[in-house]
Amino acid sequence: MAEFIAMGGYGAYVWSSYAIAALVLGVNAVLARRAERAVLHALARDPNGDDDDAPA
């Protein structure tokens, strides 16, 4: 297990890469799902677009 984490001495490089990837993909997944729901909620609050400043 210790060998696995050490990655032959390159552990810091390998694991930081994988961590950044997890972060980037995770944020993308969360924001994507949020985007879908946010539109639905926004439309529920304001179905006629009365609150919008400019035409869609």
Partner: protein, 251 residues
């Protein structure tokens, strides 16, 4: 001529169809990612030269491939949006941009982290790295341009034009290592020859590439569905759905 395709371009139709796909794509992504990560981190052997540091390849290369693939999808959507004025194409382009930008960022950052111990530097201005950085700026520029324009449809069309102009960068990125003398090495997989990577190392790489692809479609689809609702907000089908959602919220 493309009348039957127009049915699928119907926003309502696409919205209904895509409800199923999202779930399956997310599941496929999770499974493929797990299999690819296990293969890349555990079962694939260490490299004779780079030892275990090469395992960054399982993030770096799929990200780089996706940065190009997503851009080409955007270019295709952009062309369809400009020529046939299909709303779904506009929505797809807009949905893809942040995801493509993320892959480009990931490719650049993991490449930099890999380069430090192997090459001896975090960055060089060679043709491959520079053109990939230009791609990131293109993505950000497309997103900024779309955001700056008030009207949703005009914004999408402007973004489409910029996307198509930037397409010339894609072959530059791919062939940069052959056209110029670069620090970045030449292609290992995407060349006309046999891949110069051992099969035990190659398989997890391909699995991760597919996993990243299904991820893209899953995430883009979620954004597209939101975009469809926004575009069609004044139609009866959306109003009905919104009404039901509001009732559920207050219920």
């Amino acid at each position: 001529m493309f009348a039957f395709l127009h049915k699928y371009a119907s926003l309502m139709h696409f919205y209904r169809l895509s409800a199923r796909w999202s779930g399956w794509l997310a599941l496929a992504t999770a499974l493929l990612m797990a299999y690819g990560l296990y293969g890349g981190l555990v079962t694939a052997p260490a490299d004779y030269q780079q030892g275990d540091s090469y395992r960054i390849i399982y993030i770096h290369v799929p990200s780089a491939w996706m940065s190009l693939f997503v851009y080409m999808c955007m270019a295709g959507a952009g062309a369809v949006a400009l020529v046939w004025k299909i709303k779904l194409a506009e929505i797809w382009l807009r949905a893809s941009a942040p995801i493509g930008a993320s892959f480009t960022f990931l490719a650049l950052v993991t490449g930099s982290i890999w380069g430090k111990p192997m090459w001896g530097t975090w960055w060089v201005w060679d043709a491959r790295l520079t053109s990939e950085l230009v791609l990131l700026f293109l993505y950000l520029g497309i997103m900024a341009l779309d955001n700056a324009i008030e009207d949703r449809r005009t914004g999408a069309r402007a973004a489409a034009v910029l996307t198509l102009i930037g397409v010339v960068n894609i072959p530059i990125i791919h062939y940069s290592v052959e056209w110029w003398s670069t620090l970045h090495q030449g292609p290992t997989v995407s060349k006309l020859d046999r891949p110069s990577i051992h099969i035990d190392m190659l398989i997890p790489l391909l699995v991760m590439a597919v996993a990243f692809t299904t991820f893209y479609f899953a995430a883009a689809l979620a954004r597209v569905r939101g975009g469809i609702l926004a575009y069609d907000r004044n139609t009866s089908w959306v109003r009905d759905m919104v009404g039901r959602e509001a009732a559920r919220g207050h219920g």
